[in-house]
Amino acid sequence: MNTKMKVLSLALLGLVGYAGSAAAGCPSSPVPPWTSAPQLSGGVVSIAAPGLDASACHMNASLGASFASLATVIDTTPANEPRYRFQFLINADGAATFGTTDAVQIFSANAAAPANGRTPIVQMALTPGSGGSKRITFVASCAGGANFRCATQTADLPAGVNRVEVDLQIGAATTTLNYWLNQTGTSEPPATGTIAVTGGNGDWSGGVDTAVMGLGAPSPSFIATHAGQAVQFDTFDSRRNTYIGS
């Protein structure tokens, strides 16, 4: 985790292929390479071995029993990016079987200023799937949706590590969110799912300025049953243009 995280800032400059030392010990803090790591009301971010892929370490995030609990890392290196592609690995098995009202936010790509009253361009959350499983729900800001929100969700997540990749394209007339779930290979395949918004920059507020990953905004039942349970993250990568893949 510690090495892959560094890909973030480099990838924003269009560089790929950074490789750190897998033998290095896990750092005690995710900062740097992340800009900051807010942890509030019992929320905890920690680094532990091994990584979820070939990296040396991963990040654990867990929440306290509070609606205001927060366990996140923040990257402020994006600069009003009109196109923002990102990928990370997540293993949510630590948060045991999801009830039908369990939900917790895991990612947010934010604009520098609100549009239609909303600052997040896209938010991602773990939400209930079938039979106690989990899905990822994407909520994109859009003028045409209820309360300026347009949503889609993945199929049930397989147990274990899942790889999710997103491509946000903010155009003058049409903006699009494409996502891929557990795709293999480095060639860009058709998206697993899409949110298309007509309205352009007015709906998406000009581009991604901040990325936040971790846990927050728990539902009441998540607080009651999953406080202290760690969700694992790893290998965050963000770029302007190129497909990331695996």
Partner: protein, 163 residues
């Protein structure tokens, strides 16, 4: 004479925190005495939406906010800030933060009806204190909240003269 006016002014401030607009444009003030009195009551349903996102992550769009500006002065005795007023579909939360008001950023503490904000160890300085509905509550969720504390912040006298 000015002492009398000052006393009246201070009394007015102490007793009228809830009468302010409690927005980023006009934050309310809260100057509790040594016992923490008075509490601050905020009717969020009658308020307005000042902040779209707290702590870079917690969506507050479409949910009204009660915004207060407090000054923790060295020697403050308050150790917690609690909030109450939860109702069906409404779970009040409070955020203590330092960045520009409308950004809701620079969070240093948070709390809800079961988890008071701890103040012990917080650096002296000016903070925004926001009360709103939990990020997981539905858009438009609101209610009447009461914030309490257990000591003084205390007031920092900015100007004083006797003629």
């Amino acid at each position: 004479m000015k002492m009398t006016c000052l006393a009246l002014l201070v009394a007015g401030v102490l007793g009228s925190g809830a009468a302010f607009a409690q927005t980023c444009g006009a934050p309310g003030s809260w100057n509790p005495d040594a016992t923490g009195a008075p509490p601050v009551v905020t009717d969020l349903c009658a308020g307005s939406d000042s902040v779209a996102l707290y702590c870079s992550f917690l969506d507050s769009a479409g949910k009204n906010d009660g915004i207060y500006q407090i000054n923790l002065v060295a020697g403050y005795t308050a150790t917690t800030i609690s909030v109450s007023g939860a109702a069906a579909g409404f779970n009040p939360v409070v955020y203590l933060y330092t960045a520009a008001c409308a950004t809701g950023d620079g969070c240093v503490q948070s709390g809800d009806s079961g988890t008071p904000i701890p103040l012990a160890g917080s650096a002296a300085g000016a903070y925004f204190l926001a009360v709103t509905a939990a990020a997981s509550d539905a858009t438009g969720a609101c209610g009447t909240t009461t914030m309490t504390t257990n000591g003084t912040f205390p007031v920092s006298l900015q100007n004083f003269s006797v003629e």
